[in-house]
Point group: C2
Chain length 760, copies 2
C-alpha cells in the first residue's frame, strides 16, 4: 500500500490531523521543603483507588499516576493534564509536591524501604512484588509519560477507502499501526534525543548494578533503564508474530505474564495483550517519553503535536522489508543516542536532518495546518545539543546539584498550583462553580465528560451511574417546572404566599400607564420597584421612604427599560441573606455587602478600589469568587450622592459604598454567616424551598433582626428564590468560612460516594 | 360609622374598586334544532360531578350550573365565564345547546317527568326531592345568575383603619356587609328593573298555580318566582338576629334546614349558614340576577362592573334606623317593579333617578376610574323602558314567539362555540396548546389557577394533588437538565450517539475562520449548516448536493447571524417526521410540509395563498393550529428560484412551495401520520427520548423509507429533540386525525383521573 499517495487524497489530507490523545504521567511525591521522598500514604482526599479513573498509584505508594481521559486534540489533552495536576497537587498535604524528574530523588539505602503501592486488589500487589524481585525496586521508581495515540476515524476511513488489500477496517487499522510501530521503533532515537531528560541519577539509584558514565541523554531510555532481559525477543513483522512471540516468552518462563512484556511502544486493543487478536490494534502507546523537567506538567502541547506529526511521518515513510532487522537497527541507534553526552552532537545527525526534512515535505504535501515555526525547536536542538532538555537539566545542575534544581522546580510548580486555589487549570474558561465541581468530581474519581464547555454542561459517571449537570447546580434532581417557577417572580410569590410564607405584597404591571395609575395604592408606603424577571440587580429602585410621584415614575420607567413587566412591592426593611438550600438542608448562608472601600485618610477612593481589586479572589465574569469593583457611571453617581468623587480621600475607618445593590456580581463582598443563624430561620428557608418543589436553590430572606424568633410576625420576608445560585461565592467567601457546596451537590447526586470512600 | 367619609380617605379611594368576583350561571340543556328540553343525561365528557368544581348540575339533570372560580376583576370573571361556556358547550352532544333564558322552555305536562339531577351523594338527592315536593319541580327549573362579591382586602383594611367601633377586622367586615345587605334589599328593585329578563313564561310552567298577567319585568324576581313561603321571616338588623331567626324557622319547621332559606342576597362565610357566627361575613351572593337573553354568557362585563359600583353605593348611602321596615319597603318596591309591564315607565322612577345621581356623585368623590359612559346604559333604561332586556325580549317575541327567539339565540351561541373549536374563549391570548390543556383540565374538573397568563403558567389541582404546568408540556415529570440538554444540539447528539442512535455526523464551530477552514472535511458531501441553538428553522442551509466553497461560506455566515456557534452536519436524506413521545409512548406522529399552495390554472399564487389562509385553522403567534402563509422576502425568493412570481398562475394540480423549511410556524401544513407507522420506528423514538431522560418530547426522525425496518442501517437519523414541542398542531392537524395530546399530558399528570371518571 502506498501510504504517501493515499495520505495525499483530499479527504485524507483534510483529516490528517484528526486524532485522539491520552497521557499517563507518573511522578514521585516529595517533601516541598527539601525534595526528599515522602513516607506518607496516598492522599486520602483522592477517594478510592479501586476505581479512580484519573489518579492512581503506580509501582510505589509515593508514585502518583495521573491519567487523562481520551481527548480529541492536543489542547484538550493539555487541559486535562493541567487539571489533574491541580487536583492531585491540592489533594496532597500542602507540604508535599510532585517531583519534576523522571529519575527519582535520593532513594533509601535499603531498597526494601521503598513501599509498594498499598492496593486493595491482591493480584495487583502480587505483580508489584514480582516486579520488585525480578528487576529491583529502584528501577520501578523511575517515572515517565505514556502517550496514547489513535489516528482519527475520518482519516483512517479515508485511507481505507482507497485500498483493496484489507477487506475490513479493523484489519486495515492493524496493518497501518504495525507499519507505524516498526518505523517508530526504527527512528525513535530522535525522540530520545529531543525529549530525553534523564542525564544523571540521584544517590542510591545505581547500587547493585553499575550505571553508565553520566551525564547521558536518557538513562531511562538506555540499556540502564527498566526493560526486559535479553532473553525476551519479540518480532514486529506482523501482529500474529508479535502475539505468538509474547505467548512463547510466557511459555518459556522469560515473562511471568504477557503484560510484563515491556517495549517503548505498546500495541493497544482490548484489555489484555491477547485481546489484540480479536480487536485488532486500536491505538498505540508511546512509553519512551521522559518527563520534561522545566514544564509544569512534565509534558507540553507542542510536544504532543510533534509526536503526532512524527507518528504521521512514520506512516508516510517507507520501511525496509526485513522487519526484525529494521527494528533491531532502531534499537541499536536509540541505545547509542541515549548514552551520548547530552551536550554533544549526536552521531545520528544526518539521519535526524533527513527525518526533519522529510517531515517538512510531508507537512507541505498534506497542507497540514501547523504553526510556521513548527519544526524549529527540533531543528535547533539537532544543531545545538545544549538546547535539549537533558543538556539543559545537566547544565543547570552544575551550579549546585540536580537535586536542588528539581526541588526548586517542584516548589515553583507548587506555588502555581496554590496561587489561585479556586481555579482548575485547563478549565479556567468555564464558570467558577463548574471549575470547582469539576475539581471535586475528579478528586472523588467521578468520571467527567465535558459535553459543552461554553455551556457548562457536564456528564458525570460514577461506575456506570450517570448524571448530567449544567452550571454546577442544574441537575436531574430538580424538575423542569421549578426553575421556570423561580424565573417568574410573580409565580414564585403566589406559590410561597399560598403556602403561608411572608412575601412582599404588591402588584404586577404590564404597561407604563397602568403602573403609573397604581401610584395611589402605594401612597405613603416604602416600596421597591423592579423588573419582573431580569437579574443581577438591574433596574431596581428601593424607596425606604414613600416616594413622590415623580420619583415613582422614574423608577417605573427604569424597571420597564429592563423588562416588559414590572413589580411594585412593599419594601421589607432588614438585611438580606442568601440561604443555599440543598436537599432539605441549609448548606450555606451568605451576607452580601454592596461594593465598598474603607478609607484610611490617605488614599483616594480610586486608589482604595485599585488596592482592594488586587485580591486574587477578585476577577471578572464569574471566573473568580468575587468580581472587580468598577468605577463606572453607576458607581460615580453613587459616590456623588454621598458627596464623594473618585479622587476624594475618605477618613480612616469610613466605609464608602460604590453600589446600592449587594450583588457579588457588581463587586460586592460575600460574608459567610452559616454558623450565625439558629435552626428556625434555616427551617423557614428549607420549608420555602420545599414549597417551591425545589431541591437546589438559593433563597433570599430579608431579616430585620436575626436574634428574634423566625415565627414572630414580620421576622422575615422572602424576596426571591434563585434556580442558578452562584455557588462559588460560598466556597470562597470574602470573609468567613468557605462552604464546599460543590462537594455537597456531588454527594447529593452520588450518595454512594460515602460508602465508596470508606478506608480501603 | 360615616362610611361616606371613610371611603373618601386617599387609601380607601385608591382601592375602592379592588374586589373579588364569582359567578354561577345555571342553564337548561335543550335540543339545538327546536329548543325542546333534552332528555339526555349530564354529558359524560364532563368528568365526575362528585367533585367537579366548575360544571355541575343544579336541580334537574338537564340543568347545567357553571361556576367560575373566585376572580380578581370583572375581566377575569368574564374570561372564566366564557371559558366555562366553551367547555360545557363543546362537551355536550353537538345537537344540544344551552337555553339562553332564565325561564325554562316548555316543560313536560306531567311535572314528575322533570328528572332530578342524578347525583351520587344521597343527601343531595334527598334535598332535591324535598324541594320538588315543597315548591314543585317547575319553579326549580328557572335558571339565573348568582353573583358572588367581596370587597377588596386593601379597601376593607383602609376603611377598618379609620374607625374605632369594631375591634377586629372580622367584626368590621360583618358590620360593613350587613349595611350593604340592608341597603341592597332596600334598593334592589333597580337591579330588577335594569336586568330583569323574564317577561313571560313558556307552556306548562304555571300549571297548579296561576301566574301573573304577562308580560312583566321579571317573573323570577316577583312573588311568582321561587321563594320561601310567607311564614319565613328573617331580620337583617344584625348578623346575630339573622342567624337566630333562621334557626327559629328551622325549629318551627318552616324550613327543613338552614340552607332552604332563600333570599335575593345571601350572606356568605363558612360552609354552612351557622358558620357565619364564627367566620363573620366574608362575602355576599346576589341571587336576583336574571340571565341576559341577548348575551352569549347570560351576563356581561359592564353588568358585573355596574353591580360592583351599585354595591359600593349601598355602602355609601345612609340607611334608616329600623332595619326591618327598611328591608320590608325594599321588598315591596321590588315586588311591584317586578310585575310592572316591561315597556312601561316604572313607578319608582324618581328614586331610580336619585340613585343614579348619587352614584354619579360617589364616582366623582372617589375618583373611580370608570368609562365615561358608565351610567348611560342605566340612565337610558330608566328613561326608556323599551331598552330594558325584559322589554327587548318581549318585543322580539312579538314577531313569532319567545320560544323562537330563544331557540335562535341558542343556535347563534352554539355556532360561536363551535366556530373555532380549538380556542378557549376568555383565554385566547394564551398559546393554543395551553388553551387546549385548560379546556381539558376544566372539562375533567381539575382546578386551574392561572399563575401567569403571559407566561402560560398554570397550577393544576385535582382534589389536593397539585401540579404546575408551563406551555402545556413543561411539568415536574421532566427534570431540570433534560430541556437544557435538548436546547443544546451538540449535547443532544453526543448523548444520543453514545446511546447508540444514529445522529448526523459533523462538527461544531465557534468562529467563522475555523468553520471556513473545515470546508475540506465536508468536501463532496451533502451537508446541513445551522445555528447551534436557535429554533424555528432560521439560518439553516440544506445542501442536498455537496456545496461549492462560496455557497458553504454563505451558509456559514447565515448561521452565524443567528447564533455564536454553528453546526455543520452530514445531510440525511429522507422525510422528517415529528414523533411526540409521552411517558414512553408515541402519542402522535406528524409530517410537516413546507408552506405551499396547489395551482388550479386560474388563480395567481397570491390569490391561492389568500384563499388557503381563509381556513379558520390558520392564524398567528401559535394561537391557531396553523399559521398564515406569508408572502415576504423569503417566500418571494423561494418562488423566484422555482421561476414563479407572486402573480404567476400555476397549472392545475401543481404544488408550489413557498418555504424550504417545513415548520408549521412558517405556514407549513401538518399531516397526522400516527397510524401509518409500524411499532419499530415508534420504539426508536421512545428509546431515544428515554436515552435523553425525558418524559415529554417531540423528537424529529429523518426516515428515507418508512416501509423499511428501523433496524436496517441508515433507516433513520435523529435530527433533534424538542423540549417545548408544539402540541396544538397534533390536536388540530391540517390533514388526518387529531391527537388529543393535552389530555394525554393531563392523564400523565393525574393517573387517578381514570379511576375518578368511572361511571358514577
Amino acid at each position: 500500500m502506498d501510504f504517501q499517495k493515499m495520505m495525499q487524497a483530499p479527504k485524507a489530507r483534510a483529516n490528517a490531523l484528526a486524532a485522539r490523545f491520552g497521557v499517563e504521567r507518573e511522578g514521585q511525591r516529595v517533601r516541598l521543603q527539601d525534595g526528599a521522598l515522602v513516607t506518607t500514604p496516598h492522599p486520602k482526599l483522592l477517594g478510592n483507588r479501586k476505581y479512580h479513573p484519573y489518579i492512581q498509584t503506580d509501582f510505589a505508594e509515593t508514585q502518583l499516576e495521573l491519567i487523562t481521559p481520551v481527548t480529541e486534540s492536543p489542547e484538550e489533552l493539555m487541559a486535562w493534564l493541567a487539571a489533574l495536576h491541580d487536583v492531585a497537587g491540592r489533594s496532597m498535604a500542602k507540604e508535599e509536591a510532585l517531583w519534576p524528574l523522571s529519575m527519582p530523588p535520593q532513594l533509601p539505602t535499603n531498597q526494601s524501604e521503598i513501599k509498594l503501592a498499598e492496593l486493595d486488589n491482591f493480584e495487583d500487589v502480587l505483580y508489584r512484588r514480582y516486579l520488585a524481585r525480578q528487576y529491583g525496586r529502584r528501577k520501578q521508581m523511575v517515572s515517565g509519560i505514556h502517550f496514547n495515540f489513535e489516528f482519527g476515524e475520518t482519516l483512517v476511513q479515508a485511507l481505507f477507502d482507497q485500498q483493496q488489500v484489507c477487506q475490513s477496517l479493523e484489519s486495515f487499522k492493524t496493518e497501518l499501526y504495525m507499519k507505524v510501530t516498526r518505523n517508530y521503533l526504527r527512528y525513535r532515537w530522535l525522540i530520545t534525543y529531543l525529549y530525553g531528560a534523564t542525564p544523571t541519577s540521584e544517590p542510591n539509584y545505581f547500587v547493585e548494578d553499575p550505571g553508565p558514565a553520566e551525564p547521558v541523554r536518557s538513562i531511562r531510555n538506555s540499556a540502564y533503564g527498566y526493560r526486559n532481559y535479553e532473553d525476551v525477543q519479540v518480532s514486529y513483522a506482523s501482529l500474529e508474530r508479535y502475539l505468538q512471540d509474547i505467548s512463547k516468552m510466557v511459555d518459556l518462563g522469560h515473562l511471568s505474564e504477557e503484560k510484563e512484556f515491556y517495549s517503548p511502544l505498546r500495541l493497544r486493543g482490548g484489555k489484555r495483550v491477547q485481546d489484540l487478536a480479536d480487536s485488532g490494534i486500536r491505538y498505540i502507546e508511546l512509553r519512551n517519553i521522559d518527563l520534561q523537567p522545566f514544564d509544569r506538567y512534565g509534558f507540553y502541547q507542542e510536544e504532543a503535536q510533534f509526536l503526532q506529526v512524527f507518528l504521521l511521518l512514520m506512516l508516510w515513510l517507507p520501511e525496509e522489508a526485513d522487519a526484525d532487522d529494521w527494528v533491531r537497527e532502531g534499537d541499536r541507534r536509540n541505545d547509542a543516542v541515549a548514552l551520548e553526552r547530552p551536550d554533544a552532537m549526536t552521531a545520528c545527525l544526518p539521519e535526524g536532518e533527513w527525518l526533519l526534512a522529510e517531515m517538512e515535505k510531508m507537512i507541505a504535501a498534506l497542507h497540514l495546518s501547523l504553526p510556521a515555526d513548527f519544526l524549529s525547536e527540533a531543528s535547533v536542538a539537532l544543531a545545538d545539543p545544549e538546547t535539549t532538555p537533558a543538556a539543559q537539566l545537566w547544565l543547570a545542575s552544575q551550579v549546585h546539584s540536580q537535586h536542588e534544581v528539581a526541588t526548586k522546580l517542584a516548589q515553583a510548580n507548587h506555588y502555581e498550583i496554590w496561587q489561585r486555589p479556586y481555579q482548575l487549570a485547563g478549565f479556567t474558561g468555564m464558570e467558577l462553580s463548574t471549575q470547582i465541581l469539576l475539581f471535586d468530581a475528579i478528586q472523588q474519581g467521578v468520571k467527567v465528560t465535558i459535553l459543552d464547555e461554553a455551556d457548562q454542561f457536564l456528564q458525570l459517571n460514577l461506575q456506570g451511574h450517570i448524571e448530567y449537570v449544567k452550571n454546577a447546580n442544574m441537575t436531574a434532581k430538580d424538575s423542569y417546572v421549578v426553575p421556570l417557577m423561580m424565573a417568574n417572580k410573580t409565580v414564585t410569590k403566589k406559590v410561597l404566599a399560598k403556602a403561608g410564607f411572608r412575601v412582599p405584597k404588591g402588584g404586577e404591571y404590564g404597561d407604563l400607564a397602568t403602573a403609573l395609575a397604581a401610584y395611589p395604592k402605594y401612597d405613603g408606603q416604602a416600596i421597591v420597584v423592579k423588573p419582573k424577571s431580569t437579574n443581577y440587580g438591574l433596574g431596581i429602585s428601593v424607596f425606604k421612604e414613600a416616594p413622590a410621584f415623580s420619583d415613582y415614575e422614574t423608577a417605573v420607567r427604569l424597571a420597564f427599560a429592563e423588562d416588559t413587566a414590572i413589580l411594585v412591592e412593599e419594601f421589607l426593611p432588614g438585611t438580606e441573606y442568601r440561604f443555599f438550600v440543598l436537599d432539605g438542608k441549609v448548606e450555606g448562608i451568605m451576607l452580601r455587602v454592596p461594593a465598598n472601600v474603607v478609607g484610611d485618610g490617605e488614599r483616594t477612593i480610586a486608589q482604595l478600589v485599585a488596592s482592594k481589586n488586587e485580591d486574587p479572589l477578585r476577577g471578572t465574569h464569574h471566573r473568580s469568587p468575587l468580581e472587580l469593583i468598577q468605577l463606572g457611571e453607576i458607581e460615580k453617581l453613587m459616590l456623588k450622592e454621598q458627596g464623594y468623587q473618585v479622587d476624594s480621600v475618605p477618613a480612616a475607618g469610613v466605609t464608602v459604598y460604590l453600589r446600592e445593590n449587594s450583588n457579588v456580581s457588581t463587586g460586592g463582598d460575600s460574608i459567610d454567616m452559616t454558623d450565625e443563624f439558629n435552626e428556625d430561620y434555616k427551617a423557614v428557608a428549607v420549608a420555602a424551598v420545599e414549597a417551591l418543589g425545589a431541591k437546589i436553590s438559593g433563597i433570599d430572606l430579608i431579616i430585620p433582626d436575626k436574634s428574634r424568633l423566625a415565627s414572630e410576625p414580620g421576622a422575615y420576608g422572602i424576596i426571591e428564590a434563585n434556580f442558578n445560585p452562584a455557588m462559588h461565592m460560598h466556597v470562597y467567601p470574602y470573609q468567613g468560612q468557605g462552604r464546599r457546596l460543590t462537594m455537597a451537590v456531588l454527594q447529593f447526586l452520588y450518595p454512594e460516594l460515602a460508602e465508596l470512600n470508606l478506608p480501603e
